[in-house]
């Protein structure tokens, strides 16, 4: 009973945050409601017993990734989004299509709910030690490949976000300031 109440509590916060993300027109409000969604999802993971996933959900998702988003929104000074003709077309075609897909998925899930058993609170035994054993033994190759992926992502982010002139003409720097002032003084005389 307590499990169900906690599930519904976190789930309601989750869905409310997701709907608020769609309803807000200012991106910073959307980002803050996305943080609410991620934090309440961490609560759901705790209910399932996945403490490790809940911890990295809060640290990586709600912490690191959302800080990146907020910094970008503030850096670009993003304002309210304006509605255009194309957005009306997207709403007219997209919303019914997505609703049909959602009803299909929900129908399948409810129809097959007899084959899935119910999970007690804290059903997973996933101690971080067991996850680490799995990660560094069975999934060692994917783990190492992700390190290469992150390295490439860092380099890509630096290259993409730096000013285009800094990459295109690295040798055509303007002369140092004292030199220019000396040249200007020499011209006067």
């Amino acid at each position: 009973m307590l499990h169900l109440i906690l599930f519904l509590f976190f789930g309601a916060i989750c869905v409310a945050g997701a709907v608020n993300l769609l309803a807000q027109s200012h991106p910073i409000n959307s980002a803050l409601s996305l943080i609410v969604v991620m934090a309440s999802l961490a609560g759901e993971y705790l209910l399932l017993g996945a403490e490790f996933v809940a911890a990295i959900q809060v640290i990586v998702y709600a912490g690191a990734i959302m800080v990146l988003f907020l910094i970008t929104i503030m850096l670009l000074n993003a304002g309210k989004e304006e509605r255009t003709k194309d957005s009306r077309v997207a709403i007219l075609i997209g919303v019914p299509g997505v609703m049909i897909g959602a009803v299909l998925v929900a129908w399948t899930l409810v129809g097959r709910s007899s084959t899935t058993n119910s999970v007690p609170i804290g059903a997973l035994w996933g101690a971080p030690k067991d996850i680490a054993r799995l990660l560094f033994r069975d999934f060692l190759l994917p783990f190492e490949v992700t390190s290469v992926l992150i390295l490439i992502a860092i380099m890509g982010a630096v290259v993409l976000a730096s000013k285009p002139e800094a990459i295109a003409r690295p040798h055509h720097n303007p002369p140092p300031r004292e030199e220019r002032e000396l040249v200007a003084v020499g011209k006067d005389h």
Partner: protein, 100 residues
């Protein structure tokens, strides 16, 4: 005791909200956040199925999804900054040319 299908329905709702946001949002950063919402919905279904089958590898998959999402966020936001620098707008309707 909560039936597993409740968790799956919640993850489906989150995924559908992400798809809807991807379609109806016009701000490029909001579209990117909708993608993150979809990834979160999939993560919840991974953990729910890991609880169903008592398979710990579901949590390891969530770990990998988070790593890929972090890399994607870094590169994607850098692309957004580059787009804003050349076009001075974040509206996707005005970003319709590959080359200026």
């Amino acid at each position: 005791m909560v039936p597993l299908s409740y968790y799956l329905v919640l993850s489906g709702i989150l995924f559908v909200c992400g798809v809807l946001g991807f379609l109806i949002k016009r701000n490029i950063i909001a579209i990117f956040m909708s993608i993150e919402l979809m990834l979160n919905g999939v993560n919840l279904s991974f953990v729910a199925f890991a609880a169903q089958w008592h398979a710990l590898s579901g949590q390891v998959f969530v770990f990998f999804v988070m790593v890929v999402a972090a890399a994607e966020a870094a590169v994607g936001l850098a692309i957004i900054i580059a787009v804003y620098r050349t076009r001075e707008t974040l509206n996707v309707d005005q970003v319709n040319l590959l080359k200026l």
